[in-house]
Symmetry: C2
Subunit: 360 residues, 2 copies
């Protein structure tokens, strides 16, 4: 279906910001991809157009009932000028799982990948190359039917926008302080925590604001049923190195199946470091720390890649990890993963997909 892709190039190219000014999600490239969906007709009218506002009826369901799904992935330009995408199929496959949970129509995976590649081809001069920078890609779907009954929409738009980004945290890869959340809950089994949908993020803002006021960067979410099992940190998956073994919460239906999480597990297996995916209680972290066995902790996600955790605060009890410094394994994982992503280190896993064969 992407054969019918129409491309309308901008007549007024934007000025690109300097690398040190990028931040995260502040600037957008010259073009965007759009495709419509209509019940009975399916996905149709794929097009690349100049970056422009979305025009929706005020009754469009996305504003009222939150039927919206998104993804986040990154593209890199290598020193020899190749454009690389990091595991794009994982993102589009997850998007379809999210779609299924939110009663949003599924995408044809190959079409969505092709759309990513075509848009990248048009705006590849926007991929920044300074250390720590990349082109963040945000595919998303919104329900557009102007109808206020609580029911799945009959119409949708699939849109891809792209943003040249620097580091997600202004702290860089330095360890962050994390507040363990005891009052608010991100999600619960049977809910939508496994889906990458807007409501999960809105639900987490309040706790994050309170943590910020207390001097913490993010919150560590506990499960909503027992309030003791570790789920995620902010909008990242989380890992703990305890006595030489790496532990991460098992996928339980309420946490996100992170692409970076999955890649870190593969990397650790590749290095013959044992990874245990299992339910982890907050008590046992504190217990491991008392025994001197809690060696490192870090969050993983597309935006920050690896975010070392230097301190936890659970109900006033402060736990300092690795003297608040970035751990050796965290550093090695960050360097290796970003090295593979930027095409500087060999990719034994076949993760990187070159955006070639473009028609523009």
């Amino acid at each position: 279906m992407l054969q019918s892709l129409e491309i309308e190039l901008t007549k007024t190219k934007k000025q690109q910001p300097p690398a040190e000014q990028l931040g995260f999600g502040n600037y957008y490239t010259d073009h965007m991809f759009i495709m419509n969906y209509e019940d009975g007709k399916g996905w149709n009218t794929p097009r690349i157009v100049p970056y422009q506002p979305i025009v929706l009826d005020p009754a469009a369901k996305v504003f009222h009932y939150g039927q919206t799904i998104f993804e986040g992935l990154k593209a890199y330009k290598t020193d020899d000028g190749r454009v690389l995408l990091f595991r794009p199929h994982k993102n589009i496959q997850r998007m379809n799982r999210s779609n299924e949970r939110l009663s949003v129509p599924e995408l044809i995976i190959d079409d969505a990948i092709e759309a990513l590649k075509q848009l990248l081809a048009v705006d590849q001069n926007w991929i920044p190359t300074a250390p720590g920078t990349s082109l963040y890609i945000r595919p998303f779907i919104i329900a557009t039917q102007p109808q206020l009954g609580v029911a799945p929409s009959t119409h949708y738009q699939f849109i891809i926008i792209m943003s040249p980004v620097g580091a997600y945290y202004t702290e860089g890869v330095n360890p962050v302080k994390i507040f363990v959340e005891s009052e608010y809950v991100r999600s619960v089994k049977g809910g939508v925590g496994e889906a990458k949908t807007a409501g999960n993020y809105a639900a987490g803002l309040k706790a994050q604001e309170i943590a910020k006021e207390k001097g913490y960067s993010q919150v560590l979410w506990l499960d909503g049923v027992h309030r003791k099992y570790i789920e995620e940190v902010g909008s990242m998956n989380v890992f703990f190195k305890i006595n030489g073994i790496v532990h991460t919460p098992a996928l339980n239906g309420s946490i996100l199946d992170g692409v970076t999480r999955n890649s870190i597990i593969q990397l650790l297996n590749h290095w013959n470091i044992t990874v245990e995916e299992r339910p982890i209680t907050i008590e046992e972290l504190y217990e491991a720390n008392r025994k001197g066995e809690l060696e490192e902790a870090f969050g993983t996600g597309t935006a920050a890649v690896i975010s070392p955790i230097g301190e936890l605060n659970w109900q006033g009890e402060v736990l300092v990890i690795n003297e608040g410094r970035t751990g050796e394994l965290s550093k090695k994982l960050y360097d290796t993963l970003t090295g593979i992503q930027m095409g500087k280190i060999a990719d034994p896993f076949g993760w990187m997909v070159e955006a070639t064969g473009i028609r523009v």
Copy 2:
């Protein structure tokens, strides 16, 4: 601040649909209200404009992180031509509680009420008067800042649209069949279930679709922790008459504090019928039914007002209530509440607010 309200009237009035064609949320009046918010500046630029599309940057936070709040209330036109709003302060107060939970700036309540009245004045000829019809009013707030960091937006829009509506259920006030949901969860304590925000509704669609396929109109939600306490039915609060006493789930942090729920409790108290707000298990409903004590069940909400429940299905066990007929009390509550709302029955509670003093 509403003193600076600007009104731009439409030059092309729409044709109004006949009453029997209305349905729910399909048609919108000629005008809408909009007001902007900006950090440091507060709510500003209130205006009534012709009903028109919303134009947003594709990176606007509402599309990605779901910071959006809504309300629903109704206006009626009496036989002598007065325009009545049902308990509008309750809705705007709840909107502010939802705002607080989702890190959205609060509204000035009097300004929001004034906005409702002014918009109603402009479009009062849109209020349908046929039996069972009303003008449904949808105030909502969306986060508009074009920025992809996960943090509260710096910019918002508060919008009011209005839709002439008929009955919410095509079945009318006849009893509906309800599927008791055992797999999916709507919300959990610590989450956002108490807030009227888009994500709660998106989260419920999947279960509703599955129930529909099985021949049920809605689902009855159980709590996410124990999976046994009754929470809500679809997007309504729920009541059970057992052995002469009316029971409804207590406000527990995960269910909506419904305006209709609150009004029903007041009405029942006024009639000297005992109402117990408490945790109710699904088992005890079935037990009460076995003893012949479960007399009536009904959902309450702005859209449907009272929706009698004729049948429950919990893990394959079917429970028929009042032989599948509308109960006497359900009928009396419906007739009384809609009678007060339409100005046909005296309003001993001071619920109805007349939209007078308008400047247009």
